[in-house]
């Protein structure tokens, strides 16, 4: 399992691995927002938590494509499916690698981007906490979507259509927590619900992902 993790991390961090693309996308989206809604700090500070959450979500989404596609093309996926390691575990490791190389950097970058959007002072902590709690769910749910579309040529758009509705609960609770935090209100309910969803998806989604992957590989 550790070997698989190390392999995925190495592949992602290597030159053609796409690491940093997610971060760059996050930055670009954040920069585009003021051009779209105007530069008034008052407006920006209200929408900042939501925008940053959406930006992180989209950045996660974009890197899902390569989660399984490359391994599918060179046959590694077939090997994984027949290996002694349970496919559920292998997919969990892949989701973990995805989070470490995509979600986690987004969590760390968010405060910096928050400055660009006039995020209110108290909001920084809660933005980071909510993203930290929520992005693992995004990786795990995204893995399910990737498994669903693994054999489909140019399935990227379909992947987005399938995964984005599944992201809605996480987005709602995560953004709500960030927003309440920014307003100085108590975000604990949202955070608890967010954490609940993340834990449940981490525990359960790998089974669905593995089932779907087996079907798709047949």
């Amino acid at each position: 399992m550790i070997a698989l993790l190390r392999r995925d991390l190495t592949l992602a961090l290597r030159a053609g691995g796409g690491f940093g693309l997610g971060l760059a996308f996050f930055l670009i989206v954040t920069v585009l927002v003021p051009f779209g809604v105007g530069p008034q700090a008052a407006t920006l500070s209200v929408i900042a938590p939501g925008i940053l959450w959406i930006g992180a979500l989209l950045a996660c989404l974009l890197s899902l494509d390569r989660l399984l596609a490359l391994d599918y093309e060179d046959g590694t996926l077939d090997l994984l499916a027949t290996a002694p390691l349970p496919l559920e575990a292998a997919l969990s490791i892949k989701a973990l690698a995805h989070w470490l190389t995509t979600g986690l950097p987004l969590v760390l970058a968010a405060p910096v981007l928050g400055i660009l959007l006039s995020l209110p002072g108290p909001g920084y902590l809660w933005l980071v906490v909510s993203l930290a709690l929520g992005t693992p769910a995004l990786s795990v749910i995204g893995t399910f979507g990737a498994a669903l579309t693994v054999g489909i040529k140019r399935g990227g758009l379909l992947l987005s259509l399938l995964v984005l509705p599944l992201y809605v609960p996480t987005l709602i609770f995560g953004a709500e927590a960030a927003r309440r935090g920014a307003l100085g209100q108590d975000p604990s309910t949202s955070l608890l619900l967010l954490a609940g969803i993340t834990l449940a998806t981490i525990a359960l989604m790998p089974f669905a992902s593995a089932a779907v992957l087996r079907m798709g590989l047949r």
Partner: protein
């Protein structure tokens, strides 16, 4: 003879052909009759004026939008467990009907809410949940179209339906939390079970709900027949292709 004998495509088509005329006829009577009764035969509401007449479209459509997905869930499970192709094809057949019902619910819901809210769309929790359901339907249909092998498509879409159902329920509560948390939302005063609606509205509404339900059945039976025929034709052509 158990119900499972209808998992046989030929038997299914036979039963479907016998039952459909009744379904189409009864649904036409109930839908047309119910709408005419409701539109012409009921008074305006004290608060909502004549817009209350939209209820005869909105509630039945919304009901069927949910029921269609639920039926897809059950037939998907039957496919996964018992591998009856008719079941998988029935789920595939039901999806477009569900999508249209959802769309009708959304459009009528938005129009109904317009006088109340002053905008053509408001993020009312119920409407928002239906919008999310609409997206789930689109994804389901898109996945059927995208996968080449019919059996794999049936498998993948079945799991999607299962997972989607869980997330749809989750989203329902999340959306309620999301809207309630921001302001005291006034949702459309729609009766869920019909009990909170006055009798004079309730009976035409009931007729429309029955009519929409019968229409759903008729459409799904007909469409499943279509899917069965298409599948059979493709199989025949494939076999000829291999023999050639």
């Amino acid at each position: 003879m158990s119900i499972w004998s209808y998992a046989n495509p030929v038997k299914f088509l036979g039963l479907s052909a016998k039952v459909q005329p009744f379904l189409w006829g009864a649904s036409a009577i109930c839908v047309v009759g119910g709408l005419i009764w409701g539109f012409f035969g009921t008074p305006d509401d004290f608060r909502q004026g004549s817009t209350v007449k939209i209820i005869y479209l909105h509630v039945p459509a919304a009901l069927m939008a949910i029921n269609a997905w639920f039926m897809m869930l059950v037939t998907s499970l039957i496919w996964l467990i018992r591998r009856h192709h008719v079941s998988a094809l029935a789920a595939k057949a039901a999806a477009p009907v569900g999508v249209v019902m959802t769309l009708i619910a959304l459009v009528t819901g938005a129009i109904w809410g317009q006088p109340m809210w002053g905008t053509w769309w408001a993020w009312d929790p119920r409407l928002t949940s239906f919008l999310i359901l609409f997206l789930f339907y689109l994804g389901y249909i898109a996945l059927w179209e995208a996968v080449e092998d019919p059996d794999t498509a049936a498998d993948l879409t079945s799991i999607l339906c299962l997972v989607g159902s869980v997330f749809a329920v989750l989203s329902r509560y999340a959306v309620q939390f999301w809207n309630q948390g921001l302001h005291q939302g006034t949702s459309i005063p729609v009766a869920t079970g019909g009990r909170s609606v006055a009798d004079v509205f309730f009976y035409p509404l009931l007729m429309c709900m029955v009519g929409f339900g019968l229409l759903f059945l008729a459409l799904v039976l007909y469409r499943t027949g279509t899917e069965i025929r298409l599948r059979r034709a493709a199989a025949l052509r494939a076999r000829a292709g291999r023999a050639a």
